[in-house]
């Protein structure tokens, strides 16, 4: 018999730069274990997930994390009064900090989460990559934070061209000479502030792994994928599961050493010599999670189980050669739905 459960989920923006909310919900909907009532938590009134039939039972609008965690928690507790949320799964990078520092407050009210610790969350930040690589003995591209033109002249001593010029939060450009570095430095620092990160350009194929850690060092699931086609925003619109034992070994080793808790995505570059370089760790389930579900590892379901405190047996296999192909699809909505969400802050389709 399926367990009745209420799950609140964010990240419903299934646009051309999609959030993971909708695929996470699909995983839960397809679960044999749960009969779930899905509560959508939306920051914006046009997040597509809100309007897709059969995905969300009821959507509530919530304030941005930038308003402060008190405001956000207050709203969630208000929703909790009505809905009795059992598990909450946040899916946006920008909100994770707020939910991580708020997880005790949520737990006190009976809302369970399954998130990394603040320490795990912070040490994998982009500006800390070199230290992270050293600490966990993982190859990372040489990188250096710079704050002035003066530093650009000295880059030749440490880097070969081309190199990557990256922003603190987003943006990355390839530069072939110091003039281009200056150019990108100006652009990036104006947008994201200092420091600007200079990173060795590692040539190779990008491979990604989606993984789930139980917080005790065990890897509950891991599926590697190679992007087959990338949009102009750098997002995969097609990908395929691959058999890559080395990549899986790196993942299980990292999870065992960091005792990672929750979903994650490792972005790596595999060179022609067969070396793997860690580029970035996303501290949450990625938007392509439905591929993992399709390949036999329902990670959203497993994450909910762990949030409920149940022991979960690790997945031992996945299907190789499963593909995902993203597509866009126009739905028909009505102004009355938009009205309900905009004025009352809630919508039931």
């Amino acid at each position: 018999m399926k367990t009745k459960i209420t799950i609140a989920i964010t990240g419903l923006n299934n646009t051309d730069n999609p959030g993971p909310g909708v695929p996470v919900i699909r995983g839960i909907r397809e679960s044999e274990a749960f009969d779930a009532r899905i509560i959508g938590l939306a920051y914006e009134n046009l997040e597509p997930g809100i309007y897709i039939p059969g995905i969300i039972d009821k959507t509530y609008q919530i304030p941005y994390p930038s308003a402060g965690s008190d405001e956000l928690m207050q709203r969630i507790f208000q929703i909790h009064e009505l809905e009795h949320i059992d598990v909450l799964i946040p899916n946006f990078d920008a909100e994770l900090f707020t939910f991580i520092i708020g997880k005790e407050r949520l737990a006190e009210k009976g809302i369970r989460t399954f998130l990394p610790t603040l320490q795990q969350f912070e040490e994998r930040e982009k500006t800390n990559l070199p230290e992270y690589g050293e600490k966990y003995k993982i190859k990372v591209p040489n990188s250096k934070a710079i704050t002035s033109y003066h530093d650009i002249n000295n880059l030749r001593q440490e880097f070969d061209y081309p190199l990557l010029v990256k922003g603190k939060f987003y943006d990355a450009y390839l530069a072939y000479n110091p003039e281009q570095v200056i150019n990108h430095f100006n652009k990036i620092s104006a947008k994201w502030g200092l420091p600007v990160i200079i990173q060795e350009f590692v040539k190779g194929t990008e491979v990604n792994v989606i993984a789930l850690g139980d917080g005790n060092g065990n890897t509950i699931g891991a599926v590697p994928m190679r992007k087959q086609y990338i949009t102009d925003k750098g997002k995969a619109w097609g990908g395929i599961t691959v058999s890559d034992q080395k990549m899986l070994d790196i993942t299980t080793k990292l999870i065992s050493e960091t005792k990672w808790r929750g979903g994650m995505e490792l972005e790596m570059i595999k060179t022609s010599q067969g070396d793997y370089y860690l580029i970035e760790i996303n501290p949450r389930i990625p938007a392509w999670v439905y591929l993992a579900i399709g390949a036999g590892q329902n990670m959203p379901e497993a994450l909910v189980q762990m949030a409920l405190g149940k022991e979960v047996k690790p997945f031992t296999k996945y299907d190789i050669g499963k593909m995902f192909i993203r597509y866009s699809w126009d739905m028909i909505g009505d102004i009355s739905q938009f009205e309900q969400l905009s004025i009352n802050g809630e919508l039931e389709l």
């Binding site: 102004i335 938009f338 009205e339 905009s342 009352n344």
Partner: protein, 80 residues
Amino acid sequence: MKLKSNVAISDSGFVFDANTGESYSLNPIGIEILNELKQSKITEDLFAYLNNKYEVAEFTLEQNLMDFLSQLKQYGIIDE
């Protein structure tokens, strides 16, 4: 002065302007004013109506009303 014909107001305070596709939200007194403007009105009558009904200094009401009406004009949802 009158609300344009294709502008719909709901009790919740949601305004949909079918001419432009824009939508707006109102507070309760805003809803009341827009409902009054479904019939053609001159500013003086509207002022007198509100002044009778609400506890407010005349100059405050006058200022607020002028400001509100000028916004409605700017958004293009009323006709002169």
